[in-house]
Amino acid sequence: MSPPDSVSTVAQTVAQIARQDRGRLLAILIGRYRNFDLAEEALQEALSSAHLHWARTGLPSNPSAWLLTVASRKAIDRLRRQARDARMSADSILEMAEAADEKPEIADDRLRLIFTCCHPALEQKSRIALTLRTLGGLTTVEIARAFLDTETTMGQRLSRAKAKIFNAGIPYAVPGPEEWDQRLHAVLGVIYLIFNEGYFASTGESPLRQSLCDEAIYLARMLDILRADEPEVLGLLALMICTNARRRARFAGAGVVPLEAQNHMLWDMVQLREAEALLDRAIVKRSPGPYQIQAAIAALHCQIGEKDWHQIVLLYDSLLRFDANPVIQLNRAVALAECGALSPALAALEELAEPLMDYQPFHAARADLLAKAGQCDCAIAAYDRAISMALTAADALFLTNRRSALLVHSTVG
């Protein structure tokens, strides 16, 4: 043991370990005791003990192992107390608890836990919240703020989800090969939703938003460590890192800067290179999937200079084979217009007018294409529609500027 540390150093160390190891320790404890609440409470108690003990005796040589031992002891104490209170077969519970305590750490504990938290039998928002709470580093208060809920509502949501896992028998297990693809897709979907919530900030303030992006990337990295070389995990990680690399170039003042007008000097080249390397690792597996294709599209968008729009259109075609949704069709049409095929692109948009009636980016894209085609009146009307539907002030400002530029241009021209 090292000599006693100051209270503030200890507090910092505890906070740092809690941040780094919380998910891993929780996963082990949940694996041992099969009870989310028990595991969380025991870990919380162990962290409180750490504050007291470490200030007195100095940091243990392996703080994380210390926390696990203490948390296990706390969990067993709780089980003993519950058994006593319920006057039930205390012996059997103790046997279970002590047998569990002997179990070594299983490398797959966190993998099991993320499959449990992202189980399709849970409501989507609960999957997100539970994943952030147990495997990510966010508190209930932070998750509530990120999703504009009160702490009480979010707390209840988390309790309901944990109760359903226990009562409905949602397994704590890595799915077998026949379900692997579908269940992995559900996990990746949750992680990508967390990222998008952070990146596209439908509402709310920025610092917490960025932490959602960081959490999503952290979770995907964790998956890549636990199950290496899974092509779609690599694809999602590449997609998020490539997107995240451009975040500093995305805002100027109060406005959003579109990709083509962004200052490349603000792009994070280290992240862009990492995304490319991840994508390379995925591609050699020769098992294409929607996240790999989206990552490839994002990477092409980050090419400085002339963009390969034909290649982008082809990639959208492959993406549509996995998921024929109208938003992807919209993006394909925009890429088609960039290739110079303006009339086919506008024709494609007309087909999408009904399904995407309430989708704001559709009206913004349509306005841009109409402006390019010289149909100024229609373009102005489309901008008005897009501005009225904008979710953030930054987005509205960006479109208003485009609209004004078009007005000036058409009057002058």
């Binding site: 039998a121 409905a168 028998g169 949602i170 379900e179």
Partner: protein, 117 residues
């Protein structure tokens, strides 16, 4: 863990009695029953007669009130059930997805409540 699989069907979408699709559906039920028995999962299961045969009853003021018809008038109606004993929800959902009516209607899977353990 014991689960009940409640089979809900929209009669308008279910194959008609006597049609080839109906035959295929019944064969599917036969095969599923056999596989659930072989796996030791099946505890009970029945199809129900049509909702036209349903009668609802409740006690009000100590007297039974009897009514013609099901408890709730919905498009999808309870048409049958299974009670199965499975390791976890995933196994129960795997069996539920194999119920032939899942292709026409919806199967609701609920764990049985275990009282007084």
């Amino acid at each position: 863990m014991k689960y009940m699989a409640l089979i809900y069907n929209d009669p308008a979408l279910t194959p008609a009695y006597g049609s080839p699709e109906f035959g295929a559906m019944m064969q599917g039920y036969g095969a599923l029953n056999a596989s659930m028995k072989a796996a030791g999962v099946l505890i009970a299961g029945h199809g129900l007669q049509d909702v036209d045969t349903a009668t609802s009853v409740r006690m009000r003021g100590g007297k039974p009130e009897t009514m013609d018809g099901p408890f709730a008038e919905t498009k999808e109606r309870l048409g049958g059930y299974y009670i199965i004993d499975c390791a976890d929800l995933d196994e129960a959902l795997r069996y539920a997805a194999q119920i032939p009516s899942a292709a026409y209607g919806t199967i609701e899977v609920r764990p049985l409540a275990e009282y007084g353990v």
